[in-house]
Every structure is written in structure tokens, then in C-alpha cells.
């Protein structure tokens, strides 16, 4: 978009002036964004781009003098759809700088490699389509070594030295918990791509968001019922001994207990551990369900040693796919996982959720139908998590464009943040291939569907898909009350 862009604020003002009183306009990202992106992708300076979306109810047309921009806003209760005709042109615009705090090294490096690949695919696509608000994205990646202290330094470097507009944040929750407060102090919007409960818990600040992936608490709220009703009520939990693991311990424990189950043992394991057999004797013999979640480079050892220890006498096993992210399911020693269950945020195997959007995304990132690199079937991706980078970048794009953010001024950031906080819904599409998501602006957190898969023939087969509302929980957190 070039000069005279119509921001969401302008659109809302126009509606307020012209449309019938009482029309609800508090809706976030407009529907059918997939079509918009495809339409824009061929845009070149001087070309006219027309975006048409379905409309219902009152119609408002606004034309800004001096620019070849016509915008039609159509509003009906609980929906806002926008039709725009605009000219892309003029001199090349200054890039919008997005800092990317990435785990290139350290225990999160496998995630980091795939997060970077996904992010670069999304950035390439957005730039191909004309950038954000007509400005190309300049991605500045900074390695944080999967280390909280370095995470803080990375944020400082991105903000103070590279002068980025926004930060796409970290994955490991201990790093997010250290880095996001620093971003908040520097008044820089920080987008966590972590699934940790840190953002919606209220521990962070007005500048921290997690709109691209659901948080652990909501995932557990969604799947606990299935686990308790289908696998058993006496549960032993094994989890990493840091913030992310505590989210599991606390929220799965709470949800399962409310459903009549008992957590009979809790076994925390340091995330840097390399040998696990010694932990298994602590699993009580009357355990009906062994719930496991593990992260870091030793996940394969963990799962293998669990198999060696229990053999055929195993209880039902339910794990978070984090324990196997980046690991081929046909690795030697994983045979014993046959018949066990895993949570997935986004199915590793395409047939688990085969939609055109999913295929589009998979193709753009270069992942085959089995969740591995198209050029190297042994290089398995961290498929259940990395989509968060993709989806977050499109949300960021939408928030910039709707808020009219242009420069790094307090006013523009205020508009950006309040616009984002008013988003309510992300429609499923090429930008949101994992599925539609509900966004809660008070919590700065999205809610979405979850998947439960069974291991069969060394593959995941999706056996259950939750509804978005299954994952919603009550919370008093309200970031919008914090000052900007």
C-alpha cells in the first residue's frame, strides 16, 4: 500500500460517522485474508490491486484525497469486511525492521533452525506480495543461544543497535520470561512464539503478545478430558524442570484433577539431562497413564530409555510431541511407542489435517507430507510449533496495516497495540493454516484447536481434534489496563 493508506482507525471512524448506530466493529483480522495475499502477490509499483471480500449490512465508502485509494467498509454485527482498491507505487519505501530472536545454538537449536526457515519463508512471501504496508520486511536475526541472559542481550541489541520496529521472540519459555520484560522496558512489541503460559498468565507486560500459537494451559484444558476418559485416571507426570514443565505440572494437574483423575507422582527432569533410566523407578507401579513432555537434544534418549525400561509392561502413555520434535518416528528404539498417544498442535503428517491452506504452507516452508525437509527425509521438522512464526508474522502485518503504524513513535506503537488488542478472530487460511483462532486482547493470547494422535506403523494418526472452545479458560488477566 502506498500513500494515503486507510488504517483500521480511519475505517472505524468512517463507520461510526456513516453507519447505523450500534454496529459492532470490534473484530480483528478480516476474513479471507488468504485471497488478499494471493491477490497482492503479483503487485508491482504502479499496478492496481483490488481486494474484494464478502460484505453484509451497511456499507461505507471512503476516499482519501491525493491518493488512488478507495476503501469500502461494510459492517454487520460482529463482522467487519473491507474492500480496497489501491495503487501500489511511488518511490521504494523504507523497510520495516523485524528483529528475530532465534535459538540458533544451545539446546533449542533444532527448533531454532526450523523457526528460522519458517520465518524466512513467511518474510519472503510477504515481501513478494509487496511487504507490510508497502514496506519490505528486513529480518534481523540474533542468536540467543537458548539462554535467558543472552536472550536479554539479543533484545537489547535488536532494539538499541539495529533499531527494529518489532521483535519476533523466542521459543523456550525461560528465555521468553527473561527477554520479554526487557522488550517491555524498551517499549518494543515482542511476539512470543513459545506456547508457554507466560504471556496469558499476566507475568509479562503490555508489549508482549502470543497471537500465533496457543499456550500450554489452553492446550491442556482442551485435551485433559480426552486423556482421563480414554486412557486412565491414575496419572504420573514427567516434565522438564523449568517454567515450561511447571505449566504442564500445574495446568494438566488441575484440569485432570477436576475431571476426577489423580496425579500420583510428579517427576521433574532437568532440561539438560542426558541419561534418564534413573528416573523411571519413581514411576509408581499402579500408574495407569504415564504423561510425558521433554525438550532439548536428548529427547530421543528419553523416549528410548523409557521404552527399554517398561518394555511390554508399560502403562498407557500420553506425551506431548515436544518429546519427539525433530526426531524421525522410525528411529531405532522407538518401536515401543506403537500404540501410544501424543498431543500435536499441528499434525506432522499432512493426512492428519489435509486442507489446501495446510498444503500451501507446507509447500512454502519446504516440508514433505511426512513432516521432513523436502530434500532430506531424515531432517524432521519441529512441525507442531514452527507454524507460530508464520502465523505471527501475518498477524503483525495485519496489525501494522490496520493501525496505520509508520514510525517508531509512542503514538504509532499505541495505535498498533490497541489495534492488535481489539483483534478477536483469525480466520483459517494461507496465513493461518493450523486453523482458525480466537484472540483474547486482554490476555494477548490466541486460542485454537488441538490434535491428539496415535502412533501406528511409526507414524502419527490423528484420532481426535478438539474444538477451539475446549481450550478456553477463565482468567482475570487484563493487559489492556496497563499503561502504554
Amino acid at each position: 500500500m502506498s500513500i494515503g493508506k486507510i488504517s483500521r482507525r480511519d475505517a472505524i471512524k468512517a463507520i461510526t460517522r456513516s453507519a447505523a448506530a450500534g454496529v459492532a466493529v470490534g473484530v480483528g483480522v478480516v476474513g479471507g485474508v488468504g485471497g488478499y495475499l494471493v491477490g497482492s502477490s503479483s503487485a508491482r509499483p504502479g499496478q492496481t490491486v483490488t481486494v474484494t471480500q464478502t460484505a453484509a449490512g451497511a456499507t461505507v465508502t471512503q476516499t482519501i484525497p491525493g491518493a488512488t485509494v478507495t476503501q469500502t467498509v461494510t459492517a454487520a454485527p460482529s463482522t467487519v469486511t473491507v474492500t480496497r482498491t489501491e495503487t501500489v507505487g511511488g518511490p521504494a519505501k523504507e523497510p520495516i525492521k523485524i528483529g528475530f530472536e532465534v535459538h540458533r545454538t544451545g539446546i533449542g537449536a533444532v527448533y531454532g533452525a526450523w523457526y528460522e526457515r519458517t520465518t524466512r519463508a513467511a518474510v519472503a512471501l510477504i515481501n513478494e506480495m509487496g511487504g507490510i504496508d508497502g514496506r519490505p520486511i528486513e529480518l534481523i536475526a540474533e542468536d540467543d543461544g537458548t539462554d535467558p541472559q543472552r536472550g536479554v542481550q539479543a533484545v537489547e541489541k535488536l532494539v538499541l543497535e539495529h533499531k527494529v520496529d518489532f521483535i519476533l521472540g523466542a521459543l523456550f519459555s525461560n528465555v521468553v520470561l527473561a527477554a520479554a520484560p526487557r522488550a517491555g522496558e524498551l517499549k518494543k512489541p515482542y511476539f512470543a512464539v513459545s506456547e508457554g503460559y507466560h504471556v496469558p498468565s499476566g507475568q509479562l507486560n503490555r508489549y508482549s503478545f502470543q497471537p500465533g500459537i496457543t499456550d500450554v494451559r489452553s492446550q491442556l484444558t482442551a485435551i485433559a478430558g480426552w486423556v482421563v476418559n480414554n486412557l486412565g485416571k491414575k496419572i504420573t507426570m514427567i516434565y522438564p524442570d523449568y517454567a515450561f514443565g511447571y505449566d504442564h505440572r500445574d495446568w494438566f494437574g488441575k484440569a485432570a484433577t477436576e475431571l476426577g483423575a489423580t496425579i500420583i507422582e510428579r517427576i521433574p527432569i532437568p532440561p539438560t539431562e542426558t541419561s534418564f533410566t534413573k528416573y523411571f523407578p519413581r514411576v509408581p507401579a499402579d500408574t495407569e497413564v504415564l504423561y510425558h513432555v521433554m525438550v532439548g537434544p536428548a529427547v530421543l534418549t528419553f523416549v528410548k530409555e523409557m521404552g527399554e525400561y517398561f518394555g511390554s509392561r508399560r502403562p498407557e502413555i500420553f506425551g506431548f510431541v515436544d518429546s519427539l520434535e525433530g526426531v524421525p518416528l522410525n528411529s531405532p528404539g522407538l518401536e515401543f511407542l506403537e500404540g501410544t498417544y501424543f498431543w500435536e498442535a499441528f499434525p506432522r503428517y499432512l493426512d492428519g489435517y489435509d486442507t489446501p491452506y495446510h498444503r500451501y504452507y507446507r509447500n512454502k516452508v519446504g516440508v514433505d507430507e511426512n513432516g521432513a525437509d523436502v530434500n532430506d527425509p531424515k531432517n524432521v521438522s519441529t512441525y507442531s510449533h514452527m507454524f507460530s512464526c508464520w502465523e505471527t508474522l501475518f498477524i503483525l502485518k495485519e496489525a501494522v496495516e490496520q493501525s496505520g503504524y509508520r514510525r517508531q513513535t509512542p503514538d504509532d506503537y499505541r495505535a498498533f497495540i490497541t489495534t492488535l488488542e481489539n483483534f478477536e478472530w483469525f480466520n483459517e487460511g494461507n496465513q493461518h493454516p493450523q486453523g482458525a483462532k480466537k484472540f483474547d486482547g486482554r490476555l494477548h493470547q490466541c486460542f485454537g484447536q488441538q490434535f491428539i494422535s496415535k502412533v501406528e506403523n511409526s507414524k502419527f494418526r490423528v484420532v481426535h481434534r478438539t474444538r477451539i472452545e475446549d481450550s478456553v479458560y477463565e482468567s482475570d488477566v487484563d493487559y489492556t489496563k496497563q499503561p502504554l
Binding site: 545454538t105 537449536a109 534413573k278 528416573y279 523407578p281 536428548a298 530421543l300 534418549t301 518394555g311 531405532p332
Partner: protein, 289 residues
């Protein structure tokens, strides 16, 4: 489930950890004993062993070949390092620490740039599950303990039953006198450094089917090796073995009954205690191997 399950498991796991750790620490101990230098990059030789094993098994398909090639390759690299770096700084203890820290990062980053950040698995050359009634245990792990013991015995024979071993012991006792008696001290240094690195690499090869090849895996191995050589006494084979068993069993048994964190606390306290009460270590006389 009675107490016999955790005890059996603790001892079994402890002995496996101890034997691999002894093999790794032995290299560090030899280098210090003979050359009087602390090789901070020792853990990286261990890591390189694992990485090379992954390449050999993946592209040549033989674990046995990896067990031969990886120590040879790492020994070759150590020889080059000894000739080009350590010799230049005249084996000065302080400079060596700094130089080997640099080497540590250099090796790590080269592996990160070429091998990547992934933890890559290697299939064990043999695999069976030992069913002990209440629980199962990896047959390969037991095999690793046995192979480590054989390698340690081979090093013992090399040092006490061969001419090269005699030279090494002579150099350790008194470099100048050994030189006066015609011991090629410089060559002994080179061989010792290469042997120490090769032993670490062999341990890395053995461990990789259990833990995967990963570019940061050397740090844990280095820390454990330091604990063992400080407790056992730098330069003592017997001390290294005994200390490895103490630390390994402590890790196994305490981890099973209490928590792995406690076992690490106890290992650290053991090191502190040994330094306070017997700074040369349990078996380190500073004179003999």
C-alpha cells in the same frame, strides 16, 4: 516394587556411566600427568568422536569402522594441534589453558557450521533388551561398559608393559633426566596428547548410540572428567578408575533414590573435599602413574 529394583538399576547405570567416564577422563589424566598441561578442549575430542562416528556409520555403514577411524582422526587432529599450537607456546600451563579454550570454541563452531545443531542418532551395532523381571535395560549399555573396560586395560598394558609406556612414565617422573637418558620427550608429548584425544574420541563413539551426536555434548564430558581426575589424582590410572566408579555409583544410586541434582551436589562436594583434604587426589602422588 521393592528396593531391589532401584538398587540394581542404580548400580547398573552407575557402572556404565563410570566406565565411559573413566575412558574419557583417562585421556585428560594422561595429558596432565605427562605434559603438565590442562586440556580444556578435551570434551570436544569426545564430541568429535561422536560426530565422526555419525558420519562413518551414515556413509560407510560400519560402527566397528567408526570405532577405529574416529580415534585415529581425532588423534591426528590432536597431533596437529600439539605440533602447531602447544609447541609454539612451549606447553606453558597458563597459555595452554587459554589456547585450549580457544580450541574448544573453534571445534564447537566448526561442527555447528558443518554438522548442524541437530542431535543425530546412530544405531547401536547390537541391541537387545535385558529383562530383569521388574524392568528392562539396554544390552548395548552393558556392552559399552565392557568395551570401555577392555580399552582401559589396553591403556594400562601400553603404559606398564611397552617401551613407549616406559618413556611416558619416565617423562612424567622427570622430563630432564628422561631427556638425558635419551627419551625423545617431544615425541612422547605428541603421542600422549594424541592418545588422550583418541581415548576421548573412542568414548564418544561408544556413547553416541545412547545419547546421539550433538555439538554441545563435550561440555558435560569435560566437567565429569575434571571431577574424576581431581578426585582420583591427575596422572593416575588407578585413581581415575576408582574415582570414576565412586562418581558413577554416586550418580546412579543417589539419582535413583533421591534426585540427580543431589548426586551432582554430592559430586561437587566430593571435589571440594578432596581439594581441601588431599589436594593431589586420592591416588595422585605427582610422581607415578
Amino acid at each position: 516394587m521393592g528396593i531391589e529394583v532401584p538398587i540394581t538399576l542404580g548400580i547398573l547405570d552407575g557402572v556404565v556411566v563410570a566406565m565411559v567416564a573413566a575412558l574419557t577422563a583417562l585421556g585428560l589424566s594422561l595429558v596432565f600427568g605427562i605434559m603438565r598441561i590442562v586440556n580444556v578442549s578435551h570434551g570436544e575430542f569426545y564430541m568429535l568422536g561422536a560426530i565422526i562416528a555419525w558420519f562413518v556409520v551414515t556413509y560407510l555403514g560400519s560402527f566397528l569402522l567408526a570405532l577405529v577411524l574416529a580415534p585415529l582422526a581425532v588423534g591426528g587432529l590432536a597431533t596437529a594441534v600439539e605440533r602447531t599450537i602447544l609447541k609454539k607456546i612451549r606447553y606453558d600451563p597458563e597459555s595452554t589453558i587459554v589456547a585450549t579454550i580457544g580450541l574448544l570454541y573453534a571445534i564447537q563452531q566448526v561442527v555447528l557450521a558443518t554438522f548442524g545443531p541437530y542431535a543425530r542418532e546412530v544405531s547401536p551395532p547390537f541391541y537387545f533388551r535385558v529383562d530383569l523381571g521388574f524392568f528392562g535395560y539396554s544390552g548395548y549399555k552393558v556392552g559399552v561398559a565392557v568395551i570401555s573396560a577392555i580399552l582401559i586395560a589396553a591403556v594400562y598394558l601400553l603404559i606398564y608393559k611397552t617401551r613407549l609406556g616406559l618413556f611416558m612414565r619416565a617423562t612424567q617422573q622427570d622430563t630432564e633426566i628422561a631427556q638425558a637418558f635419551g627419551v625423545p620427550v617431544r615425541k612422547v608429548y605428541t603421542v600422549s596428547f594424541a592418545l588422550g584425544a583418541a581415548l576421548a574420541a573412542a568414548a564418544g563413539v561408544l556413547i553416541v548410540p545412547i545419547q546421539q551426536a550433538y555439538y554441545l555434548m563435550g561440555l558435560d564430558a569435560l566437567l565429569l572428567s575434571f571431577i574424576i581426575v581431581i578426585v582420583g589424582g591427575l596422572g593416575s590410572i588407578k585413581g581415575t578408575l576408582v574415582a570414576a566408579l565412586i562418581v558413577g555409583l554416586l550418580d546412579g544410586v543417589v539419582s535413583v533414590f533421591f534426585s540427580p541434582t543431589l548426586s551432582r551436589i554430592l559430586s561437587s562436594l566430593l571435589v571440594a573435599g578432596v581439594i581441601l583434604v588431599r589436594p593431589r587426589g586420592l591416588f595422585g602422588s605427582g610422581k607415578t602413574m
